[in-house]
Symmetry: C2
Subunit: 357 residues, 2 copies
Amino acid sequence: LWKKELTNILGIQYPILQAPMAGGITTSELVSAVSDNGGLGMVGAGYMTPSQLQNQIKDIKKRTQRKFAVNLFVPNEFYCTEKEMLDGYKLLEPYRSLFSLETYNPEVMPGEKARKMFHDQINVLIEERVSIVSFTFGLPPKEILTLLKEQGITIIGTATTVQEAVFNEKMGVDAIVAQGSEAGGHRGSFQENEDSGMIGLMSLIPQIADSVTIPVIAAGGIMDGRGIAASVCLGAEGVQMGTAFLTCHESGAHPIHKEAILNSSEENTTMTKAFSGKWARGINNKFIKDFQDKQHFLPPFPVQNTLTKEIRSASKARNNPEYMSLWSGQSPQLAKKLSVPELMEELIRESEKLLNK
Amino acid sequence: LWKKELTNILGIQYPILQAPMAGGITTSELVSAVSDNGGLGMVGAGYMTPSQLQNQIKDIKKRTQRKFAVNLFVPNEFYCTEKEMLDGYKLLEPYRSLFSLETYNPEVMPGEKARKMFHDQINVLIEERVSIVSFTFGLPPKEILTLLKEQGITIIGTATTVQEAVFNEKMGVDAIVAQGSEAGGHRGSFQENEDSGMIGLMSLIPQIADSVTIPVIAAGGIMDGRGIAASVCLGAEGVQMGTAFLTCHESGAHPIHKEAILNSSEENTTMTKAFSGKWARGINNKFIKDFQDKQHFLPPFPVQNTLTKEIRSASKARNNPEYMSLWSGQSPQLAKKLSVPELMEELIRESEKLLNK
């Protein structure tokens, strides 16, 4: 029924990956529950310090014997002058007052420090013998990939275009997540003009599948057995699902975030750079609307992400959905309030039924 | 294998509809070949005068005994002052000089005349006993729908969102084309802010299928058996394919247009209002790039469409791809140079294989 290559490579039973949602959503409960139910749980470690990451890995290991994965953000080169950062800070002042946040001197981690942290994250994965690592926003330098391979670690890359997929294969990754325009959260793009590459999965999966030989994992808007079966028909060997796991009981998403998804229609999500400086899909709210026409004047990722951090936290703390990032894919009407075992059972049953007919 | 409702309603063998591509692409050869090979050929009559439409219907009837369909554009309300039109005309002057086109007094068909022409098109369909009509850009008034139903004519609507699909069902259409963000040519949107509703098919099909009881036809980026099988898994009963038929021998698309698709990657298409004043997806070229930052200052459809007509024709006549509308969906790398019988045979064989497994 399922092509065996992907599940063999990953050492899992069903080719269902839980997407790495950064910012506290991928709790140890969520990751271990997905893995325990035959899929692949994944830690969204993009914003974690090495010690936070190490602690969570140790915690997950106590909860499950199965394989799980860790996702890292590849640090990007960014250019932002002191003045650009201060201008960005000024744009945010009304929101800081709204939440009575004290003024502060914005300090953004310089590129060198980010690269150092990334290396330390890699070292944690090696030390803790994590068996699968996935990368977003590109790939690390060849020497890191070689090091990971020498340790027997399986590598998953992310692509939003055929060209990015071909680059991933050339660099030696073991499988590729093909992220369609339907996907919630950050675009994984890294090669192209950031405005390009909004390719829907109906187009993206077969064009990538025709261009690479490694297994393709479909991501974006997939919420149920129908999406899994469709992805397999299109040429993928598996799926990566974010929003569907975000609303599960085990996820650490803020209740306001879960409710926003469960109450949204497919028209409520939009692309924005307002929260982080990088394009991402979330449910439209006041903060996104306010910055709609200023997207091209914002500081780049990760500067804008750092600048908005306290505002997002304050919004969450006050249960106010208007100033936090409510990441969601384009299928919120298919979201359910389930436990991971319930969701996994449904996914497997429905997709197998469709693929057997 | 195939759900029987859609094929029964339409009186065809396979639930494969050839999309109504306006502007000379849907030749009688193309339409009759699709119908003769078990699918549903469709005339893109959006820009046709009633007598052109009548002539083509008579021509197709000579070529095939099978059912075929006609697609009409529902006239939209538009607001455009004389000054706005002249400003739009001025933006186009450099292109008119490029092709040595004489200056002219732009005259746009007023709304009343467009509605009159639409009524005359409807009367042709009734007179010629066309059995299936599809609508884009909304639905005609209830009395026209009732008239068509009294004549036993099957009605297909177009939706880009769940809300548009629900409206279509409420108005009594027999089946709905769910147009995903992957689709080439004009967005069929009619209810919402035109910037919204770019929903990928992986999200759109199941959310529409869950919200209506009439058959759903998937459209956008579908080029082969994989896309057909995936659409069925997602809850559609059939597909509507444009770009895949556009590059067929029988299509009337300009050879430059066919070549542009056959040589494009999935990243080469983009959304533009430059050609018609309404959002549409085509292969990026000089004309689109020039208007990238002026999209919101252009006259509305159909004014801009009328204003650019001579420029598009001149570009075509000189085999110059840079100033004509090269409509294409997001899967150009899956396009092939085939005859309709060859393509239909492949589509049916591949999709049945995938759906039987």
